[in-house]
């Protein structure tokens, strides 16, 4: 009998429950060590403040929102910036070890590359703006604030899923 040599299979994603457990334990560890949870959008905000400072120093100093972030000190001393560097590195190692690292523009079969990138940019803008309004994102609010049972974090989570379902139909061609 001829035996097919199966192609090198990429390791599958973990079960959602195993991945959720692992992330939950990471969350507990972070609270245990730091007294706060994980975050993401805060690091982007510090980066945005520094970029504005580099491009337009006077404008950055008079901006009452970003000025606060400039007063936090250098990026290299910021907990959330270093944590996000870790996320980049951890994601990279994860993709590499699962042989999933690949340069690509991820999109559904019915959308072109340029359109997909424009949607990505627009979606990012909405998320960036929303994260400042909500004072956090899916990491800082939904996961971290959710685990310590904060009222605003649970309202955020509810609104996040509601927003997703409200607008999913409009952009279905992007993914299906």
């Amino acid at each position: 009998m001829e035996r097919d040599n199966p192609p090198a299979e990429k390791p599958a994603y973990w079960s959602a429950y195993v991945a959720g457990l692992a992330i939950g334990l990471t969350l507990i560890l972070t609270y245990y060590v730091m007294g706060h949870g994980v975050g993401a959008s805060g690091a982007y905000t510090q980066l945005a403040a520094r970029m504005l400072e580099t491009e337009a120093p006077e404008h950055a100093q008079t901006n009452i929102y970003l000025r606060r972030y400039l007063e936090l000190g250098p990026l290299s001393q910021s907990w959330i910036v270093i944590e996000m560097l870790g996320v980049l590195l951890g994601g990279f190692l994860g993709a590499l070890t699962a042989r999933r690292f690949q340069f690509q523009i991820e999109r559904g079969p019915k959308i072109g590359e340029v359109d997909r990138l424009l949607f990505a940019l627009g979606g990012g803008i909405s998320v960036g703006f929303g994260s400042r309004l909500a004072q956090g994102c899916t990491s800082g609010q939904a996961l971290s604030g959710g685990a310590v049972l904060a009222v605003g974090s649970w309202l955020f989570t509810l609104a996040f899923f509601l927003g997703g379902y409200m607008f999913a139909w409009l952009v279905r061609r992007e993914w299906q």
Partner: protein, 196 residues
């Protein structure tokens, strides 16, 4: 050693910065293993195809909440020292909606975009640039929307405080709700997969 370690001065803030890298590494690696470097995997639940986002998120939150309460109950961590995000009802509701909108349009959130970019996704990198632009836009109009951005303030209110129930009851109710949602998700997924 009783937590939280850095606020209790058992560990220095400098060690806290080293731990930041470790926490990020773990978080990023597990997000990748969950499949969250992929925009199509992340957005699939909004088309009832794959509810990994719901399952991972709620499992993590329930494990986190129950784990912290257990550590508190055995005296390993002082729960009163944990940072509770402040509640501002209106901006958090609108911010959540905008992030939900941006998530289905762009495919990521701030954390998962980093994982996507680190997996080689150009769309995730562009999404990250969009986040920076959105933040700069917010900063520009912040004085105009200042009153709204801080409206509906409730201090550092928690669900147990709001409903007057013990934390473990709230945690059990959330765990029960999560199980119910997982079951509903399985039913919806079955229904949609059968239809195609």
């Amino acid at each position: 050693m009783n937590g939280p370690l850095v606020p209790n001065e058992i560990l220095t803030p400098e060690i806290g910065l080293v731990f930041a890298l470790v926490a990020g590494l773990l978080f990023g690696f597990f997000l990748e293993r969950a499949g969250f470097g992929s925009a199509r995997k992340l957005t699939a639940m909004f088309y009832f195809r794959d509810f990994a986002l719901l399952r991972v998120m709620f499992t993590a939150v329930v494990v986190g909440a129950v784990g912290l309460l257990l550590l508190g109950a055995v005296g390993r961590i002082d729960l009163s020292m944990l940072a509770i995000p402040g509640t501002y009802l209106w901006p958090q509701a609108l911010g959540g909606l905008l992030i939900g909108l941006g998530f289905v349009v762009g495919g990521y959130c701030p954390g998962t975009a980093a994982v996507g970019a680190a997996s080689g996704k150009l769309d995730a990198l562009v999404f990250m640039i969009g986040i920076i632009l959105g933040i700069l836009g917010f900063a520009e109009i912040y004085p105009v929307i200042y009153d709204f951005a801080w409206s509906g303030g409730m201090g550092h209110e928690t669900l147990p405080g709001l409903f007057g129930l013990p934390s473990w009851v709230i945690a059990m109710l959330i765990a029960g709700m999560a199980l119910g949602l997982f079951w509903l998700a399985a039913v919806a997924q079955k229904f949609v997969t059968k239809g195609t």
